[in-house]
């Protein structure tokens, strides 16, 4: 396990190093100058130069890269050009929206997908299976932003059960916070649930064909008991992979949903920062996201080991 962890850590560091180079390179070639964006059309050249110097944009790119990386190594992600606040603080604030939203959506999606997938697998080929699979086909096909639009139309504008968007803030209580995250979480979760349910079903069907399921039945377990006791846990391995991927996606990929529901999350921060050329924010946030994804993958690997003892003894 130690060797394995060390190897993982090494490849993590390497990946992050490469990622930082890629991110920096891509972002620095983007046309647009943060200073002139901030000062607008009537800005004078000397004003711009003064601001550039203030922002630290007047040194060479190589120097900037190393300053940035060195800063990150010490936990300093730099200061936003436009907001003039430390990136780490901005990210921390946004995390309080993005992370709960991602977890909420993930919880919803698993809560829907697991029963649906298990149900469909246990009725393979029967009407229940066909219905669930039809629904998931539809769920996979629906673009989540379109679905979000429809949710707002129905539940916020017509029925007025939920706010059309915005985030109430956790200081108003957990319930208010969750309430304002519900529609976005549903919009994010349903398409994901459809995918997850399909994976769950096909993983279970694979397991159902395994010899040990027959062994279990030969012991006297009913179909249902065999499915729950021996099937589900074995099916978790492919399902965990998908959950890991989905979580990474939810953390960073909900830009459009955050836009539709005007949530102050990470995705929108990146989106805004790209358009205002707040390069340092973009770089640091993308870096953090890459880090998060790699960490999630690592956690998924650990989860595999928890589920599957065969992976535990791999030294």
């Amino acid at each position: 396990m130690l060797r394995y962890s060390l190897k993982r850590a090494l490849s993590l560091v390497l990946s992050l190093a490469v990622a930082s180079l890629v991110i920096f390179a891509v972002i620095e070639v983007a046309p647009g100058d943060p200073a002139s964006f901030m000062l607008g059309v009537n800005a004078q050249e000397d004003t711009l130069a003064a601001l550039r110097a203030e922002l630290g944009l007047d040194v060479s790119k190589t120097e900037r890269y190393f300053t940035w990386v060195a800063g990150m190594l010490q936990g300093d992600f730099g200061v936003s050009y436009t907001y003039r606040t430390p990136v780490s603080k901005m990210v921390a604030d946004r995390m309080w929206v993005s992370l709960p939203l991602a977890l909420y959506a993930l919880a919803l999606s698993t809560a829907i997908a697991f029963p649906a997938g298990i149900y469909a697998a246990s009725r393979r080929g029967k009407a229940g299976d066909v219905a669930v699979m039809g629904a998931t086909q539809l769920g996979v096909a629906v673009p989540n932003f379109w679905f979000a639009m429809m949710l707002v139309l129905v539940f916020a504008i017509n029925l007025r059960w939920f706010n059309a968007g915005g985030f109430a803030g956790w200081d108003k209580g957990i319930w208010a916070g969750l309430h304002s995250l519900t529609l976005p979480a549903v919009a994010l979760a349903l398409p994901q649930a459809a995918i997850l349910a399909r994976v769950m079903r096909s993983a279970l069907l694979d397991i159902l064909g395994e010899d040990f399921m027959r062994t279990a039945r030969a012991k006297g377990l009913t179909r249902r008991q065999a499915l729950w006791r021996h099937g589900v846990r074995n099916a978790l391995i492919p399902v965990l992979t998908i959950i890991g991927l989905q979580f990474s996606f939810l953390l960073a990929g909900s830009i459009i949903i955050e836009q539709v529901f005007y949530l102050p999350g990470l995705g929108r921060l990146v989106f805004q920062s790209i358009s205002s050329r707040d390069l340092i924010v973009v770089e640091s946030v993308v870096m953090l996201l890459v880090f998060a994804v790699i960490m999630v993958n690592f956690l998924v690997d650990l989860a595999y080991a928890a589920v599957d003892p065969r992976l535990r003894s791999r030294t």
Partner: protein, 533 residues
């Protein structure tokens, strides 16, 4: 009242008739063996008793367990019977256990699911049965996972699960087919002992007639879903009535006559060959360990000689084959074909490889399913400097297909249009088409039914006469090696422990390992000369 009584059992799956009017009776304490070739319906019969048939199965007739009709029993009642009154052991110990649960849990589950006793007692019982099957908890704690056990040990766990509640009937479907001969002998002993001790009835399914003859009180022979013959073992062995039964027994002790080997000119010289595989590192900066799959192997194969290689699974037979073929480098020693190395520098020596060919075990995996037979058979032409083309190529294909007993017209077919035996013929045709000086057979007949195996062995003998073959024949099946080779080598854990004239070695083994191997191999009793023939 019989323990199990199957009357006129018929079974169809999605409209295909699988079983037709099967009858079978098992008395307590009796072992009934069902045998027959692959696909004859042995497993389906067993599954019908368990009522674990695949979807779409329809049954008619009657199965009575202790007088109780099973076919009409509701599923919940059936669940109560499974595991408690009937236990079952399956063929593949590697996959029959849930990989994510400990063996203790899995054995205890049988007990707990039937609420036979409270959990703490169940644990004691699990320990007890595991000890009984030869896995004492001090050496094999209940917290072990299946992957931490060998194949034979896993099969013991499966058996422990099946007998935990002392069922009246134990069904074993090919319980030892996946195991080594020595392990097989141990498991068979264990099963026999359990039957004696608990007074269970046992339905034993196997295609290995030697096992059948050895174990069973009663033998039932099946073919195409029908019982062709059933009788107490001694009777059946003494006088087989049905021609299929006779054919089956004849085939399984089939002997071929090889032509006399040619002169003593050395062809392949293997000297002190060592093949190491790196083990995964245990610590980051430690040197990786080595697994020595082939350990200082030396032998010489003469032109025109048929050499055998036997040994248990994992002893390094296939690894040696790959080294001889020059597919992998060796760490020490050298392999020369006609005085030339098969592997020079970092690449295989194509000029040498041209003169060797190989036939693999799996008739289903040996061919690219997307190519036609002509292309499959001519693949070795790639090695030639001037591969034949046009009519010459066609003639060669036709000649080879005819030689292996197929028709030249088969050249245009795809591989899925052939049976397992036919495929193995095609594999031989492919190996012969470049007229190699040496052919390696790696378990070339192990996956075939006895009757088909007999045909292939005949074919080999014919080809020996026609083409003066020189080959190395690798198998774990001693009886096959005995008839198809002139000389034999016995391999254990990467080493050749004994080699000599085949008959000599088999009749008078020198090395204890050879002795154990031969002793463990089940043998058909020497039958009296068949009067009926």
């Amino acid at each position: 009242m019989s323990l199990l009584r199957i009357d006129d059992l018929s079974l169809s799956i999605h409209g295909f008739d699988i079983l037709k009017g099967v009858n079978l009776i098992i008395e307590p304490g009796e072992i009934v063996a069902v045998t027959g070739e692959s696909g004859s319906g042995k497993s389906m019969t067993a599954l019908a008793v368990m009522q674990l048939l695949p979807d779409g199965a329809r049954t008619s007739g009657s199965i009575r367990l202790d007088g109780q009709e099973i076919l009409t029993l509701p599923e919940t009642r059936m669940c109560a019977l499974r595991g408690a009154a009937v236990g079952m052991v399956f063929q593949e110990p590697m996959t029959a256990l849930n990989p994510v649960k400990t063996i203790g849990d899995q054995v205890m589950e049988t007990i707990l699911i039937h609420k036979a006793m409270p959990p703490d007692q169940a644990e004691d019982r699990a320990r007890e049965v595991l000890t009984r099957v030869g896995l004492p908890p001090d050496r094999f704690p209940l917290s072990r996972y299946p992957h931490e056990l060998s194949g034979g040990q896993r099969q013991r766990v499966v058996i422990a699960m099946a007998i935990a509640l002392r069922p009246k009937l134990l069904i074993a479907d090919e319980p030892t087919t996946a195991l080594d001969v020595t392990t097989q002998a141990q498991i068979l002993d264990l099963l026999k002992g359990l039957v004696d001790e608990y007074g269970m009835g046992m339905l034993m399914i196997t295609h290995d007639l030697a096992v059948v003859a050895d174990m069973a009180d009663h033998i039932t022979v099946m073919r195409h879903g029908e019982v062709v013959e059933a009788a107490p073992t001694p009777q059946l062995l003494a006088g087989m009535k049905h021609p299929y039964t006779k054919m089956l027994f004849a085939a399984s002790e089939h002997q071929v006559t090889l032509p006399e080997p040619l002169g003593q000119e050395p062809l392949l010289a293997v000297a002190n060959v060592v093949r190491d595989y790196p083990l995964p590192r245990t610590r980051l900066f430690a040197r990786p360990g080595q697994h020595r799959a082939v350990d200082h192997v030396s032998f010489t194969l003469h032109r025109g000689e048929r050499l055998g290689l036997v040994g248990e699974s994992g002893c390094g037979k296939s690894t040696l084959t790959r080294a001889i073929l020059g597919l992998e480098p060796v760490q020490d020693g050298h392999i020369l074909l006609d005085g030339q190395p098969v592997y020079t520098g970092n690449r295989p020596n194509l000029a040498v490889r041209r003169r060797m060919q190989v036939v693999f075990q799996d008739p289903y995996g040996s061919f690219n399913p997307r190519h036609r037979v002509d292309r499959l058979v001519t693949e070795p032409f790639f090695l030639l400097e001037k591969p034949p083309t046009g009519t010459e190529r066609r003639d060669r294909i036709a000649e080879m297909l005819t030689a292996v007993g197929l028709s030249p017209d088969d050249a245009g077919k795809y591989i899925h249009e052939f049976s397992g035996g036919q495929r193995q013929r095609i594999a031989i045709a492919r190996a012969l088409i470049t007229r190699p000086q040496l052919i390696l057979f790696d378990e070339a007949v192990s996956a075939l039914d006895v009757s088909v195996r007999a045909q292939i062995l005949d074919l080999l003998a014919e080809l020996c006469a026609a083409y003066d073959l020189t080959y190395l024949f690798i198998s774990h099946d001693l009886s096959v090696v005995r008839t198809i080779t002139d000389r034999v080598m016995v391999m254990q854990a990467g080493r050749i422990v004994e080699q000599g004239e085949t008959e000599q070695v088999f009749s008078d083994p020198q090395h204890p390992y050879t002795e154990a191997l031969i002793a463990a191999a089940p043998r058909l009793p020497r039958r009296r000369p068949m009067v009926a023939r």
